[in-house]
């Protein structure tokens, strides 16, 4: 599925990375624990998280996460969007919960890593 398809499916807001929304994602991972994100064996995944801070963005950049969805309508600070721009990341937000987003994407065919 492309990022732009999932933006449409879930009504996401694109905060950063508009120019990359034609890229595909096949796998997703949901976690608020960045220690855990750093142990993933796969790159190019979609991260669904409730953790709205610069560390979530930086960790995603380092772990080669393709796109981040911040759940539950949390505020994206200037610092977060600056980091996302700098790291060429796709940063998305949603009013929905992590559970709802994960459920919808799983039904739409996005796969789990583990």
């Amino acid at each position: 599925m492309t990022i732009s398809q999932l933006v449409e499916l879930l009504g996401l807001e694109v905060v950063c990375g508009q120019e990359r929304i034609d890229e595909e994602v096949e796998f997703a991972f949901a976690s608020d624990l960045m220690s855990d994100v750093l142990t993933l064996d796969k790159s190019g995944v979609l991260l669904i998280t409730g953790l709205a801070n610069p560390q979530a963005v930086r960790t995603s950049e380092i772990a080669d996460v393709t796109a981040i969805i911040i759940a539950r309508g949390k505020t994206i600070t200037q610092e977060m969007s600056d980091l996302a721009e700098e790291g060429n990341m796709i940063l998305l937000t949603s009013k929905l919960s992590v559970f709802k987003i994960a459920g919808e994407l799983y039904s739409a065919g996005i796969k789990a890593i583990y």
Binding site: L38, L51, Q55, A56, I62
Partner: protein, 144 residues
């Protein structure tokens, strides 16, 4: 950009400065990508460096990173001034953490960092002196 080999890089880390934790790993990632090093290998290198950087920010006072890259390997040395690690074997165990509530609230402190550095590197050595600091030396060979 043109790089001479061996290439040497140096970065500083300030303890407690979470918003800059990862600045070195991010910079190294950009450089390694320009050198057309395999992206999976780049990921291992920068994940290991990032884990070590976050450890200095979370557990120590200040640190210095020295990197040396040649055609066959990358050597990363992270030396910090800090409380040191009393029991290195224990610190290397998955799940062992003394991270503060602040560190945990930022999404870290699961006791997974050192085991993850081990997993992503070819060799890792940890030396530490309580009350002085900790030195991590890691090598990743480029021809896997």
């Amino acid at each position: 950009m043109n790089f001479g080999f061996p290439m040497r890089l140096q970065y500083m880390i300030s303890g407690g400065d979470f918003n800059n934790a990862g600045a070195a790993a991010s910079s190294l990632k950009k450089i390694l990508k320009q050198l057309s090093i395999d992206s999976e290998l780049v990921r291992k290198i920068v994940v290991a460096l990032y884990e070590a950087e976050v450890n200095v920010v979370a557990h120590a006072y200040s640190g210095l990173i020295n990197i040396e890259l040649d055609h066959e390997k990358i050597l990363i040395v992270i030396q910090d001034e800090g409380p040191g690690i009393p029991d290195i074997d224990k610190a290397m165990e998955a799940g062992f953490s003394t991270a503060s509530e602040e560190v945990r609230s930022m999404g870290f402190g699961a006791g997974m960092g050192l085991p993850n550095i081990k997993k992503n590197t070819s060799t890792l050595s940890v030396e530490s002196e309580v009350g002085k600091g900790t030195k991590l030396e890691m090598i990743i060979y480029l021809n896997t």
